[in-house]
Amino acid sequence: MSYSDKVLEHYNNPRNVGSLDKKAPNVGTGLVGAPECGDVMKLQIQVNPETNVIEDARFKTFGCGSAIASSSLATEWLKGRSVDEALEIKNTEIVKELNLPPVKIHCSVLAEDAIKAAVRDYQQKQSETEQTEEAAVNA
C-alpha cells in the first residue's frame, strides 16, 4: 500500500505524542479500539473549565500508519477548539485531509470515536465535580 504524503508526514513527525494526567478533573481521556483488531487509540484533552476551550491534546496509538496519522491530526485540530466544536469533527474530514483510501476509513472513524470518548470522559468528570461541590455547599 502506498501512503499519501500527509500520512507519511504525520507518521514521521507525529504531533502531540504523550500523556496528560488522566486523574486531573480538567483532563478527558478516550481509549478506543482493541489490540485484537490491530488498532488502539488513546486521546486526551485538557480543557480550561472557565472557557470550555481545549488547551492541550495528546495521543498514543497502536495501529497502522493511517491510524497514527489520524490521531495525530485529531490532536492538532482539537487544540484551541471548544469542547462543543470538538464534537463537530467528522471522520470524513480526516479522510479528506489525509487522503485515506477506503480500506483505511476505519482509522478515521476510530479517531472520531476517540475524540467523542475523551469529551464524554471530561464532561462526566465535570458533572461529578459539580455534584461534589453542590454537596459541599449543601452540607
Binding site: L8, V17, L31, P35, C37, G38, V40, M41, F62, C64
Partner: protein
C-alpha cells in the same frame, strides 16, 4: 562498507533470478527458440534437449528419475494438479483427503473446491510450534483416505514438517502422499525415496529461478501414481499437462536446481549464521519479542517474530528501506491477520505485530547489521507511541481490560 538501499529481505515471496540462471536462459529467448514438441527439425530437437537436460537437473536435486518430473507453470499449478489429479483419478477408491490448516492457499482452496464436489477433507490442526505429528496423520486416516498433502516448509513461519515420518505412515497404509515443497526444495536436503513422498510441488522463482516455471514430481514406481490431467490439449508431459513447454523457464528451473544442489551445504550454513545474527541482534536488544513457530525446526533463511505492542504495518513503514512482510491484517487484502499465526494459537494482537524476514542467497552481513539497527530503532519509537506499551509499563494487565471496540 555502505549498504545499498532498499534491502530485499522477502525471499519467501520471491527471489531474484541468479545471474548464472539468467545466463543459462538467455539463448533460449532468441537463438534456441524451437518448440520442444517439434519432432521433425533441429529447432525442435534443441528445445527438447534443453528440456530433458533440465528434467534431469530437477530430478537430481530431489533424488528422483527424470521421467518422474512434470513441468508446470509453478507451484500453484503443481498443487492443483496433484490434489485434483489424485482426487479425480482415485475417487472410486475413496473420497477422503487429509491436509493441514497452515497449508498454502493453493492447497486449501483446492481442497475447499473438492469439498463442494463431495470430497471430505480433514484439516489437521498444528501445535503452537506450527508442527503436526505423524500420529495426527495416522489417526486421521480412514479406509476412504486417498491422499495426504502436507507442506514441507511453511511459507510464513518457515517450520519444517516431519515429512519423512509422515511419508512412512502413508507408505504403510498405501496412501498417496503429496508435499508442497516450494519453500523447502533447494534449501534443505530432499530425497523422494528417503521421504517416501509420491508427489512434490516445486517452484523455480523461490530458488533463484524465473517466475512462471515449476514442476511436479510424480512417482512412477512403488507405487505408480496416476493423475487426471487438469490442462488438456496436445498431450505434453505424458498427457498430464498439455501446453507448449516454456523452454526458457524450464532451462532456468533446471539451472536453479543444479546450483541449489551444489551450493546447498554452504548456503545453509551461511544463511543460518545470518539468521541467528539477526535474531540475536533484535531479541537480545528488545524485550517482548516472540518467535512464531518452532525455534529450530525452521528453514535457515526464515525469521518470523512478533513485536508486542507494535502494529506490524506501522513497523513496516518505519523500516521502509527494508522489504519484509507482515502477518498484520492491515497488510492483507482480507483485513484478517495471518491464518497461519492464528492456527498456532498466536493471539490476534501478536499476529498483528508479526514480521517475516526472509533471508536469501544475496543478503549480506552488512544488510543484516543495518536491518538490526533500523528495526530496533523503529520498534523503540513506535513503543513510545503505543498506548499498550504505556499501559504495560504502568502494570496494567491488557488481557483484563474491557476494550471499547470488542
Amino acid at each position: 562498507m555502505s549498504v545499498k538501499l532498499p534491502i530485499y529481505m522477502d525471499n519467501h515471496a520471491t527471489t531474484p533470478c541468479d545471474p548464472r540462471v539468467f545466463e543459462a536462459m538467455a539463448p533460449y529467448f532468441t537463438e534456441i527458440f524451437g518448440n520442444a514438441a517439434s519432432r521433425n527439425h533441429e529447432f525442435g530437437w534443441k528445445g527438447e534437449e534443453a528440456v530433458e537436460n533440465a528434467r534431469k537437473q530437477v530430478a537430481d536435486l530431489i533424488g528422483a528419475s527424470a521421467k518422474e518430473i512434470v513441468f508446470t507453470s509453478g507451484a500453484t499449478e503443481s498443487d492443483n494438479l496433484a490434489v485434483k489429479g489424485v482426487a479425480e483419478m482415485y475417487y472410486e477408491r475413496g473420497d477422503h483427503i487429509i491436509t493441514v490448516v497452515t497449508e498454502h492457499k493453493a492447497i486449501l482452496d483446492t481442497c475447499k473446491k473438492l469439498e463442494k464436489r463431495g470430497f471430505k477433507v480433514t484439516y489437521l490442526p498444528v501445535g503452537s510450534d506450527g508442527l503436526i505429528s505423524p500420529d495426527d496423520v495416522k489417526n486421521a486416516i480412514t479406509d476412504k483416505t486417498i491422499l495426504v498433502s502436507v507442506m514441507h516448509v511453511n511459507n510464513e513461519i518457515g517450520v519444517i514438517q516431519p515429512i519423512a515420518e509422515i511419508g512412512k505412515v502413508c507408505k504403510e497404509r498405501g496412501i498417496i502422499f503429496h508435499t508442497d515443497a516450494t519453500q523447502g526444495v533447494g534449501k534443505l536436503p530432499f530425497n523422494v525415496n528417503e521421504f517416501n513422498v509420491d508427489l512434490v510441488s516445486i517452484s523455480a522463482h523461490k530458488i533463484y529461478g524465473p517466475k512462471g516455471a515449476g514442476a511436479l514430481y510424480v512417482r512412477r514406481k512403488n507405487p505408480r501414481v496416476q493423475l487426471t490431467s487438469q490442462m488438456d490439449g496436445g498431450g505434453h508431459e505424458r498427457g498430464m499437462r498439455s501446453g507448449t513447454l516454456n523452454v526458457t523457464g524450464i532451462v532456468g528451473l533446471g539451472k536453479a536446481c543444479e546450483i541449489a544442489k551444489t551450493d546447498l551445504q554452504e548456503e545453509t550454513e551461511r544463511l543460518l549464521r545470518l539468521r541467528e545474527k539477526l535474531r540475536k541482534g533484535i531479541m537480545d536488544e528488545i524485550p517482548d519479542v516472540y518467535i512464531n513457530g518452532h525455534a529450530t525446526h525452521r528453514v535457515p533463511g526464515n525469521l518470523n517474530i512478533s513485536f508486542a505492542y507494535v502494529e506490524g504495518e506501522s513497523l513496516l513503514m518505519g523500516i521502509n528501506d527494508i522489504a519484509v512482510s507482515s502477518g498484520s491484517a492491515c497488510t492483507s487484502a482480507s483485513l484478517e491477520p495471518s491464518y497461519v499465526l492464528k492456527a498456532l494459537g498466536v493471539g490476534e494482537e501478536l499476529a498483528h505485530s508479526s514480521i517475516r524476514f526472509g533471508l536469501g542467497r544475496f543478503n549480506t552481513e552488512e544488510e543484516v547489521d543495518y536491518t538490526i539497527g533500523r528495526v530496533n530503532e523503529a520498534v523503540n519509537r513506535l513503543r513510545e507511541l503505543s498506548p499498550l506499551w504505556e499501559m504495560v509499563q504502568e502494570g496494567v494487565d491488557l488481557s483484563k481490560v474491557q476494550w471499547a471496540g470488542e
